[in-house]
């Protein structure tokens, strides 16, 4: 199952840039908390190595020290949290259940790490950083909805990707 991880992280890299949190949520939901986190780590290592997989087609070391660096580190915990919650879904994997997991893991956890780091690196007050991040919220909510719809359909079409198969 080792190979699952790079394939998915590259899947998220292929997606047009701003969809990177979509990849994080998908990886967590479809791979479980541990492999989801490993997929996020793989993605970050590829970016670090200079592959242009980050937002705006960038890569390299700059994003890891810039003001949005915290969001990148947050991807790992975000994928893990999404996966952990999806792993706890009992019964049928429906879009609303996945949506809940994606909101907590893919949005709340990532913001909780990204916002304080951007405040520290950019030298702005925490509250300003919080209010400044509102602009990303609508996009991230849409991505959580997309994750939910895609994951529900994928688990129906390919049951091995569902939480029930991982529990076995």
């Amino acid at each position: 199952m080792l190979a699952l991880t790079p394939a998915i992280s590259v899947g998220s890299a292929l997606a047009p840039i701003t969809l990177q949190t979509l990849g994080v949520m998908l990886a967590g939901a479809l791979l479980g908390w541990w492999r989801g986190a490993l997929a996020a780590v793989t993605y970050l290592l590829l970016a670090l190595a200079g592959l242009p997989v980050l937002a705006g087609g960038t890569g390299g070391v700059e994003p890891f020290v810039g003001p949005s660096a915290g969001y990148l580190y947050g991807f790992v915990l975000g994928a893990a949290a999404t996966g952990w919650l999806v792993d706890r879904i009992r019964g049928r994997v429906t879009a609303p259940k996945v949506f809940g997991a994606a909101i907590v893991g893919g949005v709340a956890v990532i913001y909780a790490i990204g916002i304080p780091v951007s405040a520290a690196v950019a030298g702005i007050p925490l509250w300003t950083a919080i209010t400044g991040s509102w602009v990303f919220l609508p996009g991230d909510l849409i991505k959580a909805v997309l994750t939910a719809l895609v994951v529900a359909a994928v688990v129906r079409a390919y049951p091995p990707a569902g939480p029930a198969a991982r529990r076995r």
Binding site: P6, A7, L14, T42, G57, A122, G123
Partner: protein, 207 residues
């Protein structure tokens, strides 16, 4: 030929030159950058900014990559810095805002110099070496290297898959349906990943 297959520019922004900075080990450059970027968070004064500027300038000159390559790397800051500067001005006043913005630009410039002088393959090797101490907690460095290599190899494979799905979608008149694109793409990716996992297990790579 589909729109996903091009995959141009995967080789990064490396500028080949013969310089001390290019010859320095990738791991050393990354570690130094990590140390400097943490130290920069403590810079609050013009003297600190000056010291950082001297460091960046020295590395830039020594690397011989030329100002143009460096400026291209800094281009994303054109939008970010004015916005950050305005926020800092409003929060801390003009003097502090200038210091904080300057340290941000310098830090990104330093990171850009690491990018311009280091090949992707060198960074991957450095990551493999860097993972060695993690053996204690059960990380196998050669496995890390394999995962990264497989991930890079998967890019053209998945790009081809994305093209096939896109064509199938067009043939059925569902061009604008994002779900009709994403679901088959993800399922196809998972199938391929499982097949690759089987192939690796058959060769005794996985346990």
């Amino acid at each position: 030929m589909g729109r996903f297959r091009s995959g141009a520019g995967l080789l990064g922004a490396y500028v080949p030159r013969d310089s001390v900075v290019h010859r320095a080990p990738a791991g050393l450059k990354l570690a130094a950058l990590a140390v400097v970027s943490v130290a920069v968070l403590l810079v609050r004064s013009w003297s600190g900014v000056g010291a950082l500027a001297v460091l960046v300038l020295a590395v830039a000159v020594a690397s011989r990559v030329g100002p143009r390559a460096l400026l291209v790397q800094l281009r994303p800051l054109v939008w970010l810095v004015p916005a950050v500067l305005a926020l800092q001005w409003w929060a801390h006043g003009p003097a502090r805002a200038a210091v904080l913005s300057a340290r941000l630009v310098l830090l990104v410039a330093l990171a850009a110099l690491v990018v311009l002088t280091t090949r992707t393959t060198e960074v991957l090797t450095a990551i493999e070496h860097g993972a060695r101490p993690l053996r204690v907690v059960g990380v196998r460095p050669e496995r890390v290297a394999l995962v990264l290599a497989l991930a890079i190899r998967s890019v053209p494979v998945l790009a081809a898959l994305a093209d096939d799905v896109h064509d199938a979608q067009r043939a059925r008149g569902h061009e604008r349906d994002l779900r009709a694109f994403a679901v088959p793409l993800v399922v196809g990716t998972l199938r391929r990943a499982d097949a690759l996992g089987d192939a690796l297990r058959a060769r005794g790579v996985d346990d």
